[in-house]
């Protein structure tokens, strides 16, 4: 049954339709795979019983002719999505034991369309991180790590914050996984693990029931092994939600239909500011290769300028912590999660939050608190919001002369656990290419494009106009075909 876990979603839907196997069989194979990849620490909570129950129900529906767009497909859910009756931790100590009595809109949509939940996957605590090393439940190991399983010669990070999602999908333990992206948390781990990840336009996916990190940036999206699978899963995740004031009331297109392969005449913007100083040669090379592939398919590369690119990270590291400092104020030990007693309420708060938050989360809450505090608001927070406007304007201007933008996803391949750990700024630089699109609310996708000299995956990023995921997917699909990325991690289920 090993082969069942190597299917794409599209193939699995086909096989299920042809009754080559049942949803239960498909799910059983994946439940086993989830067990097999335990050394990666990708899952925080495995839900095999629930998975099989859902698979049975799916087979029953199929028997009645009720077939949803993701009918019977086993997936993993980032542990940032609230799932009714299932432990939801945000990878934080402070949510110890929290079992929501509600289900996030995005996962509700997925179950509506027939998907099956394998469990809740690991992430950086509250999605704050780029290496999945800040989780209270331990770091996630990339299946690309060399050496013996469990005794790796180099423990590589899967990227973050959706590191568990990326590892589970890359290691063939799930056909796909939900991710969330605030500054690159879907795209960067997708690039690090050789899979596809798309962050749709801000407002496409409901944020209701997703533990908030930075409200003006957070967006959910799928992580899959192919662009086509991303199109399938994205369609199910998206949709207007009246419970989210920032959700956009727009019809959701059939994204799969956009994968025509025809990009002739399309103008692909190449932002000159992304050619940052010190960019590794292999990153520059894969980028150039991407341009060539698109040219060969009939697209026209155009030189564009996004002049405020270099300020995006600084902007992000003010805006996101500021919002987070407020969003995380609700974790106070009173209504759910961890409580560390104190003599009075103030001590209870300080003890609970002191013990409950890890170092990175604490760092960001403190920075966010500081930049919003009296006397600093204008110099930091308001200034950052103004620069954010200029970054958005840059994109508006650029999209007057191009239809989609091509950049590398990350400035390097995956690094090893222990590297870049002491210096928060070094770590933040991972997001240098992904953050600008987040700040502008634009759709962005990472597609595996090749391997670096270290044999690790490299991704290319496509950025589209607001609500034009279709063009992003179409172009990504062309790159995917041209790159013919078939490499698999050394450790797969």
């Amino acid at each position: 049954m090993g082969a069942l876990t190597h299917l794409t979603m599209a193939e699995a839907l086909d096989g299920l339709a042809k009754k080559e196997y049942t949803a239960v069989e498909l799910t059983e194979a994946h439940v086993k795979a989830v067990e097999t990849i335990r050394p990666l620490n990708a899952f925080i909570t495995e839900t095999p019983d629930k998975a099989l129950e859902m698979a049975k129900a799916s087979d029953a529906r199929r028997a009645k002719g009720e077939v949803g767009p993701m009918e019977g497909l086993p997936i993993a859910v980032k542990d940032l999505f609230c799932t009714r009756g299932v432990l939801t931790t945000a990878a934080s100590h402070i949510l110890d034991g929290f079992k929501p009595e509600y289900e996030s809109t995005v996962t509700t949509n997925l179950w509506r369309d027939g998907a099956v939940m394998l469990g809740k996957v690991n992430l950086d605590e509250f999605a704050m991180g780029s290496a999945n090393i800040t989780s209270y439940h331990g770091n996630v190991v990339s299946p690309w790590s060399p050496g013996e399983v469990g005794n790796w010669s180099r423990q590589l990070v899967p990227g973050g914050s959706s590191g568990g999602s990326a590892a589970a999908v890359a290691a063939r333990a799930a056909l796909g996984a939900t991710g969330t992206d605030t500054g690159g948390s879907i795209r960067q781990p997708a690039a690090f693990t050789g899979i596809v990840g798309i962050k749709p336009t801000y407002g496409r996916c409901s944020r209701w029931g997703v533990v908030a990190f930075a409200s003006s940036l957070d967006q959910a999206g799928p992580m899959t092994r192919t662009v086509e699978d991303a199109a399938i899963m994205l369609r199910s995740m998206c949709g207007f939600d009246p419970k989210d004031s920032t959700s956009v009331d727009m019809p959701v297109p059939d994204f799969r239909a956009a994968l025509t392969g025809d990009i002739r005449g399309l103008k692909v913007g190449i932002p000159r500011e992304y050619r940052v100083e010190g960019m590794p040669a292999e990153i520059a090379k894969i980028w150039d290769q991407g341009i060539e592939w698109l040219k060969a398919a009939g697209a026209e590369p155009v030189d564009i300028s996004l002049p405020h690119t270099k300020y995006a990270l600084a902007t992000y590291y003010i805006v996101a912590p500021a919002e987070a400092s407020s969003n995380l104020a609700r974790y106070d030990g009173v209504r759910y999660g961890l409580r560390v007693e104190g003599g009075n309420l103030k001590d209870l708060y300080e003890n609970t939050r002191g013990a409950g938050f890890g170092k990175e989360v604490r760092r960001r809450i403190l920075i966010g608190t500081y930049v919003l505090s009296a006397g600093y608001y204008d110099a930091y927070y308001n200034k950052a919001r103004q620069v954010r406007t200029r970054i958005k304007w840059d994109f508006d201007e650029a999209f007057k002369s191009c239809d989609v933008i091509l950049t590398p996803t990350a400035p390097s391949t995956a690094f090893a656990i222990g590297e870049k750990m002491d210096d928060p700024i070094q770590m933040y630089l991972n997001d240098v290419f992904t953050v600008p699109a987040s700040l502008a609310g634009l759709p962005g996708m990472s597609v595996p494009a090749g391997l670096g000299s270290d044999g690790l995956p490299l991704g290319l990023q496509l950025i589209g106009r607001p609500f034009d995921e279709e063009t992003v997917l179409r172009v990504g699909h062309v790159i995917e075909k041209a790159a013919d990325f078939t490499a698999t991690p050394p450790f797969v289920a």
Binding site: P100, E101, S104, A212, S326, R330, L345, Y377
Partner: protein
């Protein structure tokens, strides 16, 4: 101007009020949970109100409409673009760790309220702004010796914070302001103004200064829950500040609490440390944009407000400013009066409503809505006087019975046989009997002791149990005595 006498001369109070008025709405400002008062603890709480992870606010259109309606009623500027901000602080009954409020860009800007002072004069107090915000939950400190219990039923209920300019100079003006504001809110139907249930709460800013001097340092007295307490707190606080300054001390700007048992203000222990609320626009919400047509539509549905009604009562019914004030103070009173006055003598109607009715209600501690005497029945009583069925004196007796039983005046008159005697034959025979029984007094009268006339009237009325028509008694008695 009324100043306070201090050791060093006159002092003037400067008072500004911040009123938190709970918006009348079915559901909360940002969630679909109910708002009814007095429900079981935490039974009207959604996951949004309890700030569970991933919960998001969606604004209640009616709450917005109520704020606009109130703004229009305060003749205020309606801001078509306003922004919701987060006010960040930790408190047991604030589950989000922030309150969604409006800071720099409120929905309503400058307006005004005209105060009707007891001497009949009026005075205009400026409204600085009105904004929408969430209420917090409730902390109960008396359920357990070492614990505080938290009820989040009120968490997320829509409030309007209405801020006045520091335009008031006496406790009486502050009282008049609150009464007038409450009256306007009730007329508009945007807040029930019930201070006991906490649906209207007041923060009082008080400072003192020498007349003509710049403003002094103010203290804020939080959450005072009756007009009487507001006035008492102001008096106490002003005196406290004057004493401190006159003894060479300095006023610390601080938040104080009103102690309802000791009748004094005291420094708040828990909120001593300076706050840094870190306001910023709530990223879960977008700016609130109102369409001018929508505001215009609301404007068209505004009821006649107290000031306009008062002017109309004076011109239409020729009432005194005083009576008009009393009648328009509550919409229910004004409506009651107009129902009574319709087709009747408006001044007579005003006398009965403000005199007998309000007197009885006051004594019984009842609101106009609870009046046992309906407007229809009071009108009926006035009709009985007008058509001479009963005299004004008997009417008061009938009214008393109406107030006790709620019965119709005509029924009471019939049952008690209070119908006025207008049969001249019957009156004549009563008079004859009285004159015959008091022949000596008749002689005295006829020899010039005019004052005895009243005695004869009294005797006749007594003999007829007060039912004889007084005009007829006078007429016949005069004729007979002249003999």
């Amino acid at each position: 101007m009324s100043y306070i006498q201090g050791e060093t001369g006159d002092w003037e109070m400067v008072i500004g009020l911040e009123v938190h008025a709970q918006v009348i709405s079915n559901a909360k400002l940002f969630s679909g949970a109910a708002t009814e008062f007095g429900a079981e603890p935490n039974s009207q709480v959604s996951f949004v109100d309890a700030a569970f992870p991933g919960m998001l606010p969606v604004i209640n259109e009616h709450a917005v409409e109520q704020a606009v309606r109130t703004g229009l009623g305060l003749k205020a500027q309606i801001n078509l673009h306003s922004v919701f901000d987060r006010k960040n602080y930790f408190y047991a009954d604030l589950p989000q760790g922030y309150q969604i409020s409006q800071y720099l860009q409120p929905i309503v800007g400058k307006g005004e309220i005209v105060l009707d002072l007891p001497d009949g004069s009026s005075r205009t107090v400026g409204i600085t702004r009105l904004h929408l915000e969430q209420d917090a939950g409730k902390s109960l400190h008396d359920q357990h010796p070492a614990k505080t219990y938290i009820d989040l039923n009120r968490s997320g209920v829509a409030l309007m914070e209405i801020v006045s300019e520091p335009d008031m100079r006496t406790a009486e003006e502050a009282g008049a302001y609150l009464r007038k504001l409450r009256s306007i809110l009730r007329y508009l139907g945007t807040c029930d103004g019930n201070m006991e249930e906490g649906s209207m709460r007041c923060d009082v800013n008080v400072s003192v200064r020498k007349p003509g001097a710049p403003f002094g340092t103010r203290c804020e007295i939080k959450n005072v829950n009756s007009i009487r307490f507001v006035m008492a707190a102001i008096e106490y606080e002003a005196r406290r500040q004057i004493d401190i300054i006159e003894e060479g001390g300095k006023i610390d700007q601080e938040t104080r609490l009103w102690d309802t048992t000791k009748f004094e203000t005291r420094s708040m222990r828990s909120k001593e440390e300076a706050h840094d609320y870190r306001y910023f626009p709530d990223p879960d919400l977008l700016p609130l944009e109102l369409e001018p047509e929508w505001v215009e539509d609301i404007k068209k549905t505004l009821p006649e407000l107290p000031d306009d009604k008062k002017a109309r009562f004076i011109s239409e019914y020729k009432l005194s400013a005083y009576d008009a004030n009393v009648l328009v103070s509550e919409k229910a009173k004004a409506d009651f009066y107009e129902a009574v006055a319709k087709g009747r003598d408006p001044k007579l109607a005003a006398n009965w409503v403000t005199g007998e009715l309000f007197g009885y209600l006051n004594k019984a501690g009842k609101e106009i809505e609870e009046s046992p005497v309906s407007a229809e029945n009071l009108g009926g009583l006035i009709d009985l006087i007008a058509d001479n069925t009963i005299s004004g004196r008997i009417a008061k007796e009938v009214f008393e019975a109406m107030f006790e039983t709620g019965e119709k005046p005509a029924d009471i008159v019939e049952k008690k046989g209070l119908r006025q005697v207008t049969d001249t034959g019957a009156i004549e025979s009563s008079i004859d009997a009285v004159l015959a029984a008091n022949a000596d007094k008749v002689e005295e009268f006829r020899s010039g002791k005019d004052k005895l006339f009243g005695f004869f009237v009294g005797q006749v009325m007594k003999a007829t149990q007060g039912k004889a028509n007084p005009a007829l008694v006078n007429e016949i008695l005069t004729r007979k005595l002249k003999g």
